[in-house]
Amino acid sequence: MTRLAALQRQFHDAITGRSSLATAQGLVRDDGIQPLDRLQVYAHAYFVRIRDALAAEYPKLAAVLGDDGFTALVARYLDSYPTRHPSLRDAGMLLPRFLSEEHGWRVGALWQADLAKLERARTEVFDGPDALPLRRFDLAALAPEAFPGLLLRLVPSSAVVPIASNADEVWSAIEDGTTVPFTAAGPRILLAWRRELAVIHRTLGEDEGHLVKRLRDGVTFAELCAGLMDRSDAVDHALTLVLGWLDAEILAST
């Protein structure tokens, strides 16, 4: 190991808490200000910068946990998942997974993971790929015989988020300045997407949720209808769904 590599390893481990800050004192020139005080500037900045970035990305989760709880969560998260991406935007990308992993030993972790999943989805949708949405007038130009083969696919800046709790209601309550406790609301499917520049999400009904999952890979109108064949009004219902999706701008223009 070169001298530079050894120095960087020792400094890195001390500043990020893998070893005591005092272990790096000998690296630093002592010129009247305690080396430990100087090193503390870096240790403080390292943690606070990432914590503040995560608090900005997960504002609802931070509100649920409070300052101390959120700070403690970030400390545990960084121990397990040190950031590996050049952008601070992605420093918190594994926080939902980390919360799911805490489920076995920490009460509430799974439901907090649901809230984090929703918030992360909204972040990724915010600056995801641009795409033109499919609109009603696109369909108006379609010949009737082409309708069964019409490909329906979600806009690329969208995310299907399965949750086990009422995290969507908790999100909305915090947004409105009120509070709602977490409950086990059963499986739910949320869809987050970007319409123009606005990030939107909504909770889907069970049937629509399953269909929207299929829209991620793309499905033709005929296949959509086939998936609804247990209904007597399969085609009418499929058409109603599609028109609703068009108005919401969740389908991509092909």
Partner: protein
Amino acid sequence: MFPRLGLGLGLRPPHFPRVTAGPCPGVDWFEVITENFMVAGGNPRRVLRAVREGYPVVLHGVSLSIGSVDPLDEAYLDALATLCAEIEPAIVSDHLCWSSLGGHTVHDLWPLPYTAEVIDHVVARVAHVQERLGRRILLENPSSYVVFEGGELGEGELLAEIAGRADCGILLDVNNVWVSCRNHGWDPRRYLDALPADRIGQIHLAGHSHEGALLIDTHDHPVCDDVWALYGEAVRRFGPVSTCIERDDRIPPFDELVAELQLARDAVALRETA
């Protein structure tokens, strides 16, 4: 060697609506944080494209980690090259620091020791980056709070040696010179003495905070009088180099920053009439 763009501002999200609404008198160009625009689409890229239509844009990175012993992140360089091809920035810069180790990105600008080993290491990596991008980059002096034992030269000398050998430019952050000099008992004018005028491609101005005996580079205050005085000295030595003000916290209204930028314009005008 480097374009003279005039006086610019670091563009931050609170000012996106203002800069996309129409011309911004008093501002000649904008600098953006590179990594914030390495995204697929949405509002950040829309704003960047809109700004670029009306102004020169400078890409200023924080995660190149030019001094790390980790291999350079080729995926990062690919993304940077793609962004450069789309935006055609007037200047591309990052910091003389390290910010990753063992694949762990720390999102901070950690200092390097001032040694011949570091010069050789950084020179080779700058050459790789410049070849990959097909252009010169600038390296900025970061604020520092520690100096490592075993240094063989001063920070200004280190920067000058790297710039000369790597054939890159220097982004002179005057606030960082002031902060580091105060923190380590250096003379800021002797720091400037070490820098080659023909390598200074851009200047940064910013504010800082006091924390005990140390100054901290927080970018949350207006530029202080001491830094303005040092900027005047830098302009006398290096000429009307492209200069911008950075503000990252307690961000004031846009017009307030434009008014602050006028002080830089006054300093440049003073040099030209002297």
